[in-house]
């Protein structure tokens, strides 16, 4: 629950973006998703596991995700989240605008440094 103060808050939409990108590659259930993000980000991001759930519900509501029954790694029945067609489209748009923004910030910072 405690967040280390040297880690900043995520900008709005970042969490959704990461979830969508992760689930786009492979549909997962909630715990697997949380583990995946933690492993890949190598602990650089401090995300509370539970905070995924409101984001997941929001995306379920807007229709970017859908849930269905599946099996976990331990062969238990779990609910698995999958990206929909609309979600995929949203993901592409968001990724491209995120990359543009990131590239722009980088350029400004590079110029400022030199």
């Amino acid at each position: 629950m405690a967040k280390k103060s040297e880690y900043r808050d995520l900008f709005p939409g970042a969490l959704e973006l990461m979830i969508l990108q992760t689930l786009n590659r492979r549909p997962m259930h909630g715990y697997a998703l949380a583990q995946h993000i933690k492993d890949i980000s190598d602990d650089l991001l401090q995300i509370e596991e539970g905070s995924l759930y409101p984001a997941l519900q929001r995306m379920l509501k807007t229709g970017w995700l859908e849930s269905e029954m599946g099996l976990s790694a331990r062969k238990r029945p779990v609910r698995v989240f999958k990206v929909t067609e609309a979600g995929r489209k949203h993901l592409e748009e968001e990724l491209s605008s995120f990359e543009k923004m990131f590239a722009g910030i980088n350029r400004v910072l590079a110029v400022a440094q030199s």
Partner: protein, 876 residues
């Protein structure tokens, strides 16, 4: 995405969400256990790393909710539960509001129908009623020739028409029935802007003499007499033994207040001999103003025309002017003051109801301080608390409003039925009194106001409060004393209003009593009356035949068992000052003064049958018939006005009877009989013998030894036996006719209604007073215990409590009396024979209130006096 389906699947979503989170945790626990933790350690770690499960679940659920709506609904449910836990408060508040709202809705319904709804004509605000006016008769009708001249010469009106009341004998399958009718000029319906629903109205020129006889039907008559058949146009109907062709049927919404129950409408194409004089003012004028012309312009123009006409035709009084008044004013003018008074009374009742409920809320919020403080400590914002109180207020106001609507609807129906039939015919707006958009809007506004009031009082209590005070038990600080005083002060307001209403009711009641006890000058008890119209076959034949015929009727009537005496008159007393005459005196020079007097045509036995007092000379006898010179009997008022200090017997009056200057010798003076309306002073009156004036219709007046009502059917049967074509109508007793006049009815209505309001107001404010005193006692138990422990006697405690109540009552009384005098000045137009500051009424109101206040405070005082000091000191 479709929010509607989302609503239904929400529960499933919540379950899925819980299940998903559960799975998450189980997986994590399993993983951690694989790494070597025990089950308990794993569970703790998993939960810790997950976060606050409840909070996360809530936040996830919120995604699917409309948070504002949800919390409002939750608050409403909570409010309902709270009210359920305090049923006494809820029931009292509900009943009080329902009564207050119901009464004011009912009265508002009447006010709306009479004053706010427009008349059923096109652009009714452009319609003016037109009359000739003198100082003595401020509202005189038009004479036909004057009307024609005005019509020709005026430029202010796009059309000007007249209406005259009339009656015919309708021949139906079951016999002859007298019916009311309207005689109008040809353009009457066009001027009003009324289009018949079948057929047509009159064409211009159809009102000239010699035109074919046509008639337009009333909607109700078309349904009743002609079965609502579509082919009724072109059929004939027999009125007064003449065939009239039906040319149209009026629409259902049509009404003309003066016409009352008129069933047939005919054009004026024949004038009676009276109407052929310029001096006989028989017609009611209606005109439509041209665009851009104002009422004042029209009045000025018509006055100028009138002066011109007077100079042309010198046999009119010199000071006739024109009067132009909006038509609506004429129709509802005399009802307006009473309706507004009633509205004021209902409004006051509503105020009392609201004040009562507000003080109830205040008292209750005292006992909820703890709850509010706890909620505040738990994190409720002020806005949230305010919203909750507002919703509680809304619930009570809505429930009270709904019930009030039902009460109001029932009251409206009840009151409409209390108005007698022929008065109701003259007030066609009564049909429109029911729940409609206006009354619904009124209820909404009132309920909204009540909600604001209730929420406001609860909230006002909030803002003065500190959380710590609320949580602390024991003695309260100064804030509480302030609120106690406020609660008490509100009761003073209630008491004051109750005093105002009581005083109003007392004054109106006294007015009514005075009205009914106006000295009549005759004995109205056990007298049967009915109206008789001689058939054309007899009235055509001339005065001698008519008087012979009417004499026969009186003789036959007198021969019936149980009849003491009988007579006939053209108009029974106490109705109105209609039937006027302008007289002059041959022995004096005449300069055109307007000597206007009431005129009545009576039979020889009439005044003795009424038991009127003979002051000088004699009454008429059978000898005074058409062969002898004209004789007259005058009343004392006429004698006083025109023959002061001299003997009127033997002197002559002259008037214009049917176009000819006629002289009448005064043979007797009768004690004033109240011919006009009860609330008007006795007008000078002249009486002529029927046998000399030759009226074809008259009212039969029969004094019976037993009950007058029992005789009526016999009378009617006997009259029909004499001649089946005789029109017999309006049977009733003289007493009922006197008490049923509009003046008497309005006063009775007003007195009863305001009396009802006053009763309810008194009850409510006494209950309020009781509540305040009882509450104060319960708060002061400790103090009383201390006093008694220190040696105060029971009497002292009684005195303590009742003194407090006494102060409240006295203050309320003082305010109320001042207010009562003020209000009475406002309604003084409706008071008759009673001054606005009538000392007896005010004193009795004070006594009533004093007694009620004493009674209300007695019970709490007794409870206070029986406090056990030990118990009181122990309680916290």
């Amino acid at each position: 995405m479709n929010w509607l389906t989302q609503l239904f699947t929400r529960r499933r979503r919540y379950e899925e969400l819980s299940a998903t989170i559960r799975e998450h945790l189980e997986e994590k626990i399993a993983d951690l256990m694989d790494r070597g933790m025990t089950h308990d350690e794993a569970e703790r770690t998993a939960r810790r790393e997950f976060g606050n499960i409840t909070r996360i679940e809530e936040r996830s659920r919120e995604v699917w909710q409309w948070p504002t709506v949800e919390s409002v609904l939750a608050d409403l449910r909570f409010a309902l539960r709270q009210l359920g836990r305090a049923p006494g408060f809820a029931a009292t508040a509900f009943v009080v509001l329902a009564l207050g709202i119901g009464a004011s809705v009912a009265i508002f319904g009447f006010v709306d129908a009479a004053l706010l709804e427009p008349l059923p004509y096109t652009q009714p605000n452009r319609l003016m009623a037109v009359a000739e006016k003198t100082a003595t008769f401020p509202w005189g009708h038009l004479s036909y020739y004057d009307y024609q001249d005005w019509k020709r010469m005026n430029k202010s009106f796009s059309s000007l028409d007249v209406y005259g009341g009339s009656g015919y004998l309708l021949r139906t399958a079951s016999g002859t029935v007298p019916v009311d009718a309207g005689r109008v000029s040809a353009g009457f319906f066009q001027t009003l802007g009324v289009k018949p629903m079948l057929g047509r109205a009159f064409l211009p020129g159809e009102d000239r003499p010699g035109q074919p006889k046509v008639v337009v039907l009333n909607y109700g008559t078309w349904l009743k007499q002609f079965g609502g058949r579509q082919d009724v146009v072109g059929q004939t109907v027999s009125l007064d033994n003449t065939a009239y062709t039906i040319i149209g049927v009026l629409p259902r919404s049509f009404s003309f207040a003066l016409a009352g129950n008129a069933e047939f409408w005919v054009p004026i194409n024949a004038l009676s001999p009276h109407e052929q004089t310029r001096n006989f003012f028989n017609f009611f004028g209606v005109g439509r103003l041209r665009d851009g012309v104002t009422q004042q312009t029209a009045q000025a123009e018509l006055t100028a025309i009138e002066k011109q006409l007077q100079n042309q035709y010198s046999n009119q009084g010199r000071n006739l002017t024109a009067q132009v008044i909006p038509l609506t004013e004429v129709f509802v003018g005399n009802v307006r003051p009473i309706l507004l008074t009633l509205l004021g009374g209902a409004g006051l009742l509503l105020v009392i109801a609201c004040v009562n409920v507000a003080s109830l809320v205040l008292v209750r919020s005292e006992s909820r301080r703890r709850e509010v403080a706890v909620r505040g400590a738990l994190g409720a914002t002020r806005g949230r608390l305010v919203r909750q109180f507002a919703e509680e207020g809304l619930l009570i106001a809505a429930a009270g409003g709904l019930c009030g609507v039902l009460v109001g609807a029932a009251l409206m129906r009840l009151l409409s039925q209390l108005v007698p039939k022929d008065m109701a015919a003259k007030m066609p707006f009564l049909d429109g009194v029911n729940l409609n958009a206006h009354t619904a809007g009124f209820v909404c506004i009132v309920a909204f106001g009540a909600t604001l009031l209730l929420a406001g009082t609860s909230m006002a209590r909030l803002s003065f409060q500190k959380v710590r005070d609320g949580l602390a038990t024991g003695d309260r600080g100064s804030a509480s004393r302030l609120w106690q005083r406020l609660g008490a002060n509100l009761v003073v307001v209630e008491l004051a209003i109750a005093v105002v209403l009581l005083a109003g009711a007392g004054l109106l009641g006294k007015s009514f009593y005075r009205l009914l006890h106006v000295p009549l000058g005759f004995d109205p008890n056990q007298v049967a009356t009915l109206r008789v119209i001689a058939p054309d076959s007899i009235s055509k034949d001339g005065k001698a035949q008519i008087s012979e015929f009417s004499r026969e009727i009186v003789e036959r009537v007198k021969s019936l068992p149980g009849v003491e005496s009988a007579g006939m008159t053209s108009l029974i007393p106490a109705q109105c000052d209609c039937m006027n005459d302008r007289i002059h005196f041959p022995s004096r020079p005449y300069h055109g003064e307007r000597n206007d007097v009431d005129e009545r045509h009576i039979s020889a036995g009439y005044l003795p049958a009424l038991r009127a007092a003979l002051v000088r000379g004699r009454f008429f006898t059978e000898d005074d018939d058409g062969t002898k010179p004209g004789v007259a009997v005058i009343n004392e008022a006429l004698a006083r006005k025109f023959f002061p200090g001299e003997d009127p017997l033997g002197q002559k009056i002259a008037n214009d009877e049917g176009g000819r200057d006629t002289e009448w010798e005064i043979v007797g003076v009768v004690g004033d009989v109240h011919e006009g309306a009860l609330d008007a002073p006795v007008a000078p009156t002249e009486y002529f013998p029927l046998s000399q004036t030759g009226d074809g219709s008259f009212t039969l007046v029969v004094r019976t030894r037993q009950h007058a009502t029992a005789l009526l059917p016999e009378l009617v049967a006997m009259l029909h036996q004499i001649d089946p074509n005789l029109g017999v109508s309006d049977e009733g007793t003289l007493l009922a006719k006197v008490e049923g006049t509009q003046a008497a009815l309005l006063h009775r209505f007003a007195a009863w209604l305001i009396g009802g309001f006053a009763g309810v107001a008194l009850l409510l404010s006494v209950v309020g007073l009781y509540g305040v005193v009882a509450y104060s006692v319960s708060q002061r138990t400790r103090e009383i215990g201390v006093r008694m422990a220190l040696g105060a006697q029971r009497n002292a405690v009684y005195g303590l409590v009742m003194r407090q109540a006494g102060w409240l009552a006295v203050t309320g009384l003082a305010l109320g009396l001042a207010g009562a005098v003020g209000v009475a000045t406002l309604i003084r137009k409706m008071l008759f024979g009673v001054a606005a500051w009538d000392a007896v009424t005010l004193a009795s109101v004070a006594a009533v209130l004093g007694a009620a206040a004493m009674a209300a405070s007695f019970v709490p005082a007794r409870r206070a006096a029986s406090v056990d000091p030990v118990q009181a000191l122990r309680s916290e």
